[in-house]
Symmetry: C2
Subunit: 372 residues, 2 copies
């Protein structure tokens, strides 16, 4: 069994080319992890995910602990076996969804008590339980339980919340059982306050983790602030560990974050948008519901290799979207994930060649064209 | 271009082994046509359909004339090109859906006036327009417009309706433009009254069609009556033309109908059931919502070659169904269609070997076992 580790092959400015080694194989970074909330990347079979170029997916502890429960998944052989995905899986800790989805939550030093958004049942998530759930799931990367304050709270509230998250991180580390090939990531909090981010990054490194995530961004701040906070935070993170920007984002934001030293991403945007008729392309975003597409025989993106772009017209994709057909969600999800993975692959090639900044400038100019 | 024709290779009792030749290729019969209502077999990409073994699909004139309209599909290159399906397509005439789905319909000698179930707009469907729409779609097999009376109306009402359908069939034939590789099918009506069925079959043959369908069954009569009506009707149909039993049915009904001389089937059951968690297997039907499946690590059907049975457990399929995940619909639809196509393939093999009756007895005994 390979031990869990990260190899940094090359840097180009702040951008990094690396490989993350896990129990379920290697992942080339920068990488984008499609979100597989409830043990499925919505509208995709595992082979469909592989065909996009994705090497690692994300699972949501919150959803899985409620249905079908971590104990059931463990009995059934773990999350990889359960969902038929043999490559690496990262799971979040459930903290973010508890804050955003559940009802009647109560946050205390011990942990979070909440009611399920599905049936109203009461559940408790502590740092120790979050680590246990992710062990039962068999996640290659376990995330520490943290609190993600809503956008706009004061610096004092951010400081208090971040410091509690750091105490939770320490409890997660203590609850962790080391296993060959598996890793635990800490999460830097502190809102958009550089001093708090620096304090959080230092606190996590004092504990020591196999990787470091930046949490609490893309929650309402503007894109420039998100990127500047990312850059000021990565400056405080060790070079030899992977860096994961949680929940980000749009294609241009991913490119900007890679240029600022990020290695890993996840976001529901490409999957969720695929189910509502929005497509991301090299020429910007398209809404397939718009009337301009109903007679358009061109592909979604002439430069894309995915099933949707190789075999179907915008007119057909528009028809599927307008009639609410499942195939529309299937094809647009495949396209969007393929596009995200292609952006990552092109960035890796550019970093290897030492021209990440130039590639990004060309990409962004084209991406920000008027959608057509 | 191959001319449209049917080759009868062998009979075994009343069961028939044949090949239907069309503009878009050959179809081995008996065959089951998955229903692709709105230019998509729901939850399946064209390659997924091919993988099931299906060689021909059905499209619904009613849905397509409303969205995206026959004229738009024609402008976009026809239904095959539009939906990326290069094999044969049969379209119904729209008559059945007008009766079952639309609002405020008015049936007159000239045709049917109805309001769309989508937006309430008024439309007229005449025999001539039904043929024109199917020509615009580019269907390999066009069905005549007919009236399908509800179950339970009197023999006199059935007689009057059937005779009007025969006059409409004659108008469809007159409106038909012969094209190499394309065919027009008549539809036998007459409810469960053998004399009316015989009269209808004779009337259609006097007009002359490339194939003959049996309509108006599986609308509420019991299974035995459905099969006996099928048998008494096929006795009046010419041996050298394909016979299509419309809208039937469950796997055991298909087997019974093949033994009574039917060559072609369509039904929404395998696709629709797949979206609600019902699976058809060699051991009967299963409802994946049932609690007995949540910890079951066995495949849906150990003898099935489909993606769902090769890669996933009943526990996982149950989870997907219970959480309403699109992948559940995708996998169960693939399984159900694969099962239907495998039943057809095994029947073809049995007919070729001259043991269709024995194969059917074994199949039905196993199929009618208590589901497990």
């Amino acid at each position: 069994m390979t031990s869990f580790h990260f190899t940094l092959h090359k840097t180009d400015g702040l951008a990094r080319l690396g490989t993350l080694h896990t129990a379920h194989g290697a992942v080339q970074t920068p990488t984008f992890m499609p979100v597989g909330t409830a043990a499925t990347v919505k509208a995709m079979a595992p082979d469909d995910i592989l065909a996009t170029g994705a090497e690692m997916i994300l699972g949501n502890t919150y959803h899985l602990m409620l249905r079908p429960t971590a104990e059931r998944i463990d009995r059934l052989g773990g999350l990889h076996t359960f969902m038929g995905w043999s490559r690496p899986i990262l799971t979040d800790s459930g903290g973010y969804q508890v804050m955003s989805l559940s009802a009647l939550r109560r946050i205390e030093e011990s942990g979070v008590t909440f009611r399920s958004h599905i049936d109203g049942s009461e559940h408790v998530l502590t740092p120790e339980r979050a680590v246990e759930i992710q062990r039962l799931l068999g996640s290659d990367v376990t995330m520490v339980l943290d609190e993600c304050p809503p956008f706009g709270v004061s610096e004092d509230e951010h400081a208090a919340s971040m410091r509690r998250s750091m105490r939770w991180a320490e409890r997660c580390r203590a609850a962790w059982t080391p296993r060959d090939g598996y890793g635990l990531f800490g999460i830097v909090q502190g809102g958009t306050f550089p001093d708090l981010r620096a304090e959080s990054a230092a606190a996590l490194q004092a504990i020591g983790f196999e990787g470091y995530a930046i949490g609490g961004l893309a929650v309402g701040e503007d894109a420039a602030t998100m990127l500047s906070t990312t850059e000021s935070t990565t400056a405080h993170l060790p070079a030899d560990r992977p860096r994961y920007l949680m929940g980000v984002g749009k294609p241009d934001q991913l490119v900007g974050a890679v240029l600022r030293g990020i290695d890993m991403f996840d976001c529901v945007l490409p999957t969720r948008s695929g189910r509502t008729g929005q497509a991301f392309t090299r020429h910007g975003t398209l809404n397939l519901r718009n009337a301009c597409h109903v007679d358009d025989t061109s592909p979604l993106d002439a430069d894309c290799r995915c099933l949707a772009c190789s075999n179907f017209t915008r007119a057909y994709l528009s028809h599927l979207t307008r009639t609410g057909e499942i195939l529309g969600a299937m094809l647009l999800t495949r396209h969007n994930i393929t596009f995200y993975e292609d952006v990552m692959a092109e960035l890796r090639t550019a970093i290897a060649a030492g021209n990440a900044a130039a590639w990004s400038e060309t990409f962004l100019a084209r991406y920000r064209e008027t959608p057509r």
